[in-house]
Subunit: 341 residues, 3 copies
């Protein structure tokens, strides 16, 4: 496969971007402003990097109109430079498309259905009652358990586990180590010990979702756990049984949602944020990293919890006062009362 290369003018035309400067140069790859060579294209989206624009050796920079004057060489003007860059960068990605067919080392049960156009990698296991649709690609060491469906054009990168009753839509991308459809954590306390509550539901993942490495999504107790279309989950996220996540919501690494909570559409959940169970969170809610959400949220907006970090010695003094906070407030009230005639 020859390495991809495109003239700047070609990129401008293909993506409908305004070219400023000379479009004749050929671009062979993409890089950061600081690292790019004259044969590479870069971008400026985050204003923190604006200072690097003037000195960048990049052959071309994708940027906003307002940043263009500060660029000496060729540039492509975009309303959203990050989106434009993402499209251009995709031209330079070389993920070899694996051939359709089942690797001889894979174990496919007689009762499984694998479409002829699907690709099953080495040492993957497809169990009875599983379905892999056309154009789906399973890398090495994946498992598709009973009553699971991998939708058309979906990709399980490697070592993905779909346990049972999991349905992936089309073009779903799942990264290694993810476990979808394990038992929810359902326990009843029976006098002096735990009794397991059967987990009879499944998991439904909509089209165009992405699931990060080592993320876990449990199957429902009675009804399904649901991710609507275009939900994006980073690594090591935990989604408990019967959670419903609205379309286009994105969650950063290590976030967690407890059982039976419903998140709205277009939410942004920061890294390590936690959302307790049986809550409802409205559409377009943004939750700051590491915040803990303990009640339902009915209005769009930004929410946060936590306290700022400090030098440990100062922090310790302040943290100790936290334990007196109610008492301090009462003493303040007493002083106020005192003052009043």
């Amino acid at each position: 496969m020859s390495a991809p290369a495109f003239r700047i003018a070609e990129l401008a035309e293909r993506f409908g971007l305004e070219l400023r400067g000379d479009g004749a140069q050929t671009i062979h790859g993409v890089a950061t402003l600081a690292a790019a060579t004259p044969a590479q294209l870069s971008f400026l989206a985050n204003p923190h990097y604006r200072a690097q624009l003037a000195s960048s050796a990049a052959g071309c920079v994708v940027l906003r109109a307002e940043d263009a004057p500060a660029r000496a060489g060729a540039c492509l003007v975009a309303a959203d430079p990050y989106v434009a860059f993402a499209r251009i960068a995709a031209l330079f990605e070389r993920t070899p498309a694996p051939a359709a067919g089942i690797h001889p080392s894979a174990v496919v049960a007689p009762g499984a259905r694998v479409a002829p156009g699907a690709s099953i990698g080495p040492l993957s296991v497809i169990e009875d009652g599983a379905v892999v649709e056309d154009g789906a690609v399973l890398g090495p060491q994946c498992l598709v358990g009973p009553d699971c469906t991998v939708g058309a054009q979906s990709r399980l990168v490697a070592r993905v586990t779909l346990v049972t009753r999991v349905t992936l839509g089309r073009r779903v991308l799942v990264h290694p180590g993810a476990v979808i459809g394990a038992d929810g954590f359902g326990l009843a306390f029976d006098r002096d010990r735990w009794l397991k509550v059967p987990q009879l539901g499944g998991v439904r993942i909509g089209d165009d979702c992405e699931i990060g490495a080592n993320t876990t999504i449990d199957r429902g107790a009675l009804e399904d756990t649901v991710l609507e279309e275009d939900v994006r989950l980073d690594n090591q996220i935990q989604i408990a049984h019967n959670v419903v996540i609205g379309a286009h919501t994105a969650m950063a690494g290590c976030a967690a949602v407890a059982g039976s909570t419903t998140l709205g559409r277009y939410c942004l959940i920061g890294g390590g944020a936690g959302i307790l169970g049986h809550l409802r969170v409205a559409d377009r809610v943004t939750i700051a990293a590491r915040s803990l959400i303990t009640h339902s949220i009915s209005a769009a907006g930004e929410y946060a919890s936590g306290v700022p970090f400090q030098n440990r010695r100062e922090w310790r003094r302040n943290a100790a006062r936290f334990k007196q906070l109610d008492e301090l407030a009462r003493r303040l009230q007493a002083l106020e009362k005192d003052r009043k005639p």
Copy 2:
């Protein structure tokens, strides 16, 4: 296998529940109050769902005596409806029992012992010195490393890793991606670099424990890491080396316990809670979600830490004041002193 079905009167008799209304109807499955059809059974345990009782189309509802009057159709009265429901729901679970024997694609070392009644799934690996007892079921892609034992009737759902010196009791259930018996994180700082401290202990898991997906339990440095019987761990929990967890303790997703800490029996550890190392926590301690426990706890009870979430703007103002908390307390003291004659 024909689908299971039971008359309501049959269920009442089998589980010793009081039947109210007509017991002739046949039940074919279980569902939530909102979704159940006349051919399904539901339950009411959490008072939040009481409003759904009157309108539920369920053929039968398991509930407390006090809720029975609000139910028009047949119901089964139970002291603990959730426990009774769990037992009934188990009748409708259809986990096919895999046949005993070793799948031809599994790799079993000559020095491993697998009982004839055990079932070893495709592409699992059983290493020298490992033992799999009678009735144990290993799903696909599991690993049982050297000096590991899987007790009778235990089940490794799929892709479970027992690294080394791990002993599982009877009826232990382990979900995919769990790693039990990896090296503890033992390091000595040797002048200018880290020196690894050998991890020579193992892991002992008692009867009837359950270990969630992608949970990690490290093996001990010198002595063993121990889970007593009926300990229940949700997904993505981290148990460090030499931790001891008392019988019947349950931990929700993403909780973590640092090295050499001992937790009592019947503790309830909330999701994402953290417990530092070398502590002792008494029996029947409940820790709220996301709390950080930094000292030993000697009395049963409920404990929590953290601050409430707010709209980000309000939160920011309050959080900034946290850094002045000690100073504010001192100023309050000064005012109080001033006031006194």
Copy 3:
């Protein structure tokens, strides 16, 4: 293999430690002070365990000079007893060195290069363009993806996944379930839905690093994610794309670093700590467990955040006041103003 055994005098000589008492006794293993028998060696490093010294039945104890008088039997005096103990304990570790060669069940692509002295365990997959250097040991069920290199003498314990463009240095140790080189979480919001940003970088791991079970390290978007030499990561850590971690930094379980942050050398990151993206943290910074770092840190030292845990009832009262903190501070100011003449 016969079990290892060493006379105390032999250990003193081999590790340059001062022997006090009788060195003739043979040592067959290591144990804690409380559990050690006369045939075992123990150590005293943490002063919390000093009370156990007098009653320990250990045949030998490694300790500091100042603790030696309290020991009745033989002891070895060390400037750093934990370091000395780690070296001695390594003598008693019995990890069988697997034979070089490729297990017949492993799947090695024609375009992969495996050194003759490397060992590839059962059901591992080595893909086209991958390199495994001399003396490297891969346990069962590992995956070395395209353009990945496993350096000489490195060890992937079992079920480790190197996704793509990952380079491990020499003597790197990776525990089961770790996923290195998955896509970073790069998304651009394109009008009404997410657009994936190609992740074109790789991961470079320096010599002597250790990566814990189920830890994830994403590959870079444009440049590489980097761990310098001797970085030590515990279990379930999340390292996002383009993070750089300085040499000799250690992170405890469940810590997380967001994208493009650079950590210095010799940092100590506590369990569950979080560090936001695009920050710079200086050398020799210590961060307390569960702290959230939201800004760059330019000076060495200890940092913390969070509030102390309490009995839930007291905690609730104080936590409620947190929401009034800014208002309380203003009321205090008003009182102060009032007082002034």
